[in-house]
């Protein structure tokens, strides 16, 4: 392995990433809220939203991402999304309909369906995003006490493979 030296600086990547992060966030919101009209929905939006934080963690270090989105927040969000989904069903039960029947949410059944789908997709998005980011937190910090230290990567070993 080479010693880390002056060349090991990634200013170009950092600057471009700073520009890209808000764009990808905006696109995630577009996928989330435009899913009724085009391709997309909660699951895809959650994944894109999570990939923003993963990109930040890759470029600026995972420790800094943990300051933005703390693990405790993730635990809360993960459950909150599922509760939002299930709670919509409970609300529709209380209003006199079947479980997850959004038509009773508002006086007009069609707009009740609109709002029901909106809330449900939001719940899916929140859960998926929180789970994905916490998966990244888990996998990005390798544990040395698992049994072996991850060996340094050797390029010549790579060149010799078949």
């Amino acid at each position: 392995m080479l010693k880390r030296n002056v060349q090991q600086r990634h200013r170009v990547v950092q600057v471009i990433t700073k520009f890209l992060i808000p764009m990808i966030l905006l696109f995630a919101f577009y996928v989330q809220f435009h899913g009724d009209f085009g391709a997309g929905g909660g699951f895809q939006a959650g994944v894109v939203f999570a990939s923003v934080f993963i990109l930040h963690g890759l470029i600026f270090g995972e420790a800094r991402t943990r300051l933005v989105l703390t693990p405790n927040t993730l635990r809360v969000l993960m459950s909150l999304g599922l509760l939002l989904y299930a709670g919509t069903g409970v609300v529709s039960l209380l209003l006199g309909g079947n479980y997850l029947n959004y038509s009773v949410l508002l006086s007009n059944p069609v707009s009740g369906q609109h709002w029901g789908i909106f809330v449900v997709e939001l719940g899916v998005g929140i859960t998926v995003a929180a789970v994905m980011v916490s998966l990244f937190y888990c996998f990005s910090s390798k544990r040395n006490f698992v049994g072996h230290i991850s060996h340094p990567i050797d390029e010549n070993e790579l060149n010799s493979d078949g």
Partner: protein, 204 residues
């Protein structure tokens, strides 16, 4: 759309599917796991293109986001727990090869009974109670242009609730195995004292 265009689209889909098989064989043949991860990214790129060609846009969007982005990153995270080069094979598994070939052949034989792609006479499409109801009444009942969303979130709300619970459970499972607590790293010198204290509080 005339017949020629349909034939050409079929040819393009066939070529893309062939490329998928070639990439899959390549992933099996290489013994460098990092290369396998990179090639699996290529695999999901191609399969998303196949989904677009077959008009399954929502699936293609999912494949683009999950297959190319997240799953590559999680596979890399898994690689950081293990070694990068596959263990050399010491014995030949011809029996396993024969069994796998027989199973694959049986599966392919089973697919011959399925209705062909886009067949209007298949049971799912010709059943007037369900599929036609979704397609025709969705406009009146839910009034959302994307029928996929209305089926997923409203008509089949229980299924999606179950899927969300599965994602949640998977997250909980990984958290209980690996934990969210931060590995002790060299402290980041650029953070302020307050931030460092916050991190240490989280660790404890």
């Amino acid at each position: 759309m005339n017949v020629d265009a349909i034939v050409i689209e079929n040819i393009i889909v066939m070529v893309l599917l062939t490329l998928l098989i070639v990439v899959a064989v390549g992933i099996i043949m290489l013994n460098d796991l990092l290369t396998a991860v990179i090639l699996s990214g290529l695999y999901s790129l191609l399969s998303a293109t196949v989904f677009v060609a077959m008009d399954a846009v929502d699936v293609a969007l999912t494949e683009a986001a999950v297959g190319a982005g997240i799953s590559t990153i999680i596979l890399l995270g898994t690689l950081s727990f293990t070694k990068r080069i596959q263990k050399p094979q010491e014995h030949n598994n011809y029996v396993a090869l024969v069994i796998v070939c027989i199973t694959g052949g049986a599966l392919i034989y089973g697919t011959l009974d399925l209705p062909s792609y886009g067949d209007p006479n298949s049971p799912a499409n010709s059943n007037p109670q369900l599929a036609q109801h979704y397609l025709t009444e969705s406009k009146k009942e839910i009034d959302i242009p994307n029928v996929v969303t209305s089926v997923l979130a409203s008509y089949r709300g229980y299924d999606t609730l179950g899927e969300t619970a599965v994602v949640f459970t998977a997250g909980i499972g990984v958290l209980s195995l690996l934990g969210l607590r931060r590995r002790r790293r060299k402290e980041d010198p650029l953070l302020t004292e307050k931030q460092q204290r916050k991190q240490q509080n989280e660790d404890n």
